[in-house]
């Protein structure tokens, strides 16, 4: 099974929470720390169960999220 994960640019993230609210597997939550603007960025707290659906990416208003899949051919 290919593993999926997200990388969130903590400086772009404004802690709006939309990604957290739409994740069907609840792998995202607010980090405890702040970014340099004073927001709690979102972060992937559950490293195992991301299904790579991209819902978080779709809802993110700041294009702060990149969704990765390991071992997959991505058509360009």
């Amino acid at each position: 099974m290919p593993k999926n994960f997200v990388v969130i640019d903590e400086e772009r993230c404004k802690g709006c929470g939309l990604c957290i609210s739409v994740c069907p597997k609840k792998v995202l939550d607010f980090a405890d720390h702040f970014n340099s603007k004073g927001y709690h960025p979102a972060t992937q707290v559950d490293k195992e169960n991301c299904i790579g659906c991209g819902f978080c990416y779709m809802m993110c208003p700041d294009t702060a999220i990149t969704v990765y899949r390991e071992n997959v051919e991505v058509k360009g």
Partner: protein, 251 residues
């Protein structure tokens, strides 16, 4: 193990961090427009006209030739560009004050002439950049800084339904109202935006996508509360759907 990015920043979006508030839907729509520009392969021939409003900086968020028009005048600026360079793809990106207040004449006439341009219209029922004043699309009863007692018919008149007005004009070739309140709606909105750009590319006439959007800051709600308020109130006033479709099925 090598990992591939399956969802990432579109190429025609610049690297500049968005200046929008947390949870503002502008950022979602910007990304969708950029995704469509990438997929249609038109980055090198797209010209964009940003408005006056929160998205006045929109021209810096896209890596395409861009300008800012005077408040409300973007459809006229776009008309000048398209008539000068008919082979380019020209789009305007406007808010509810820009398009439905000061710019009413310009949008109606560009649509009426069937100008082969595309307008992305962000309707959040309020004036964002200037601090939360009433917009032509503000709902009845809604309190804003210039309708502090709540909008009332006798005093401020009814909210204006832009899509319903524009659909009467024969020059309009594609017209849809969408929202981006959920991933499913985001997908549908992207399809609408794609069809709108295809309308222009096929030379069919004027295209516009109205996007119901939140303004958490000026509504005084959190980003998620704002989405709920939009779903419960704005969709009743402004039903989603296709109003005009001369494009047909997308390949």
């Amino acid at each position: 193990m090598a990992a591939k990015a399956i969802f990432k920043k579109p190429q025609s979006l610049s690297d500049k961090e968005f200046t929008y508030c947390p949870g503002c839907h502008h950022g979602i729509v910007h990304r969708l427009v950029a995704e469509v520009i990438d997929e249609l392969g038109i980055q090198g021939k797209t010209l964009m006209v940003a408005p006056v409003g929160c998205s006045v900086f929109a021209y810096t968020f896209f890596d395409v030739d861009g300008t800012v028009a005077a408040h409300g005048r973007a459809p006229a600026v776009a008309t000048g560009m398209k008539r000068a360079m008919p082979d380019k793809v020209v789009f305007t990106y406007q808010g509810d004050g820009d398009l439905a207040a000061i710019g009413t004449a310009e949008i109606i006439h560009a649509a009426n002439r069937g100008e082969k341009i595309t307008t992305i219209f962000i309707n959040n029922a309020i004036y964002g950049m200037t601090g939360g004043q009433m917009a032509p699309t503000t709902l009845l009863g809604m309190k804003t800084t210039t309708s502090p007692y709540g909008r009332e018919v006798d005093r401020e008149g009814y909210p204006i339904h832009v899509s319903e007005v524009l659909k009467e004009l024969s020059g309009v070739a594609y017209l849809e109202r969408v929202a981006v309140s959920s991933p499913a709606e985001v997908r549908k909105a992207k399809q609408a935006i794609k069809k709108a750009f295809m309308t222009q590319i096929k030379g069919l006439g004027f295209s516009l996508v109205e996007v119901l959007s939140t303004c958490p800051t000026n509504w005084g709600l959190s980003p998620i509360e704002a989405i709920n308020w939009l779903n419960e109130n704005m969709k009743k006033e402004y039903p989603l759907g296709v109003f005009v479709d001369k494009v047909g099925e997308l390949k």
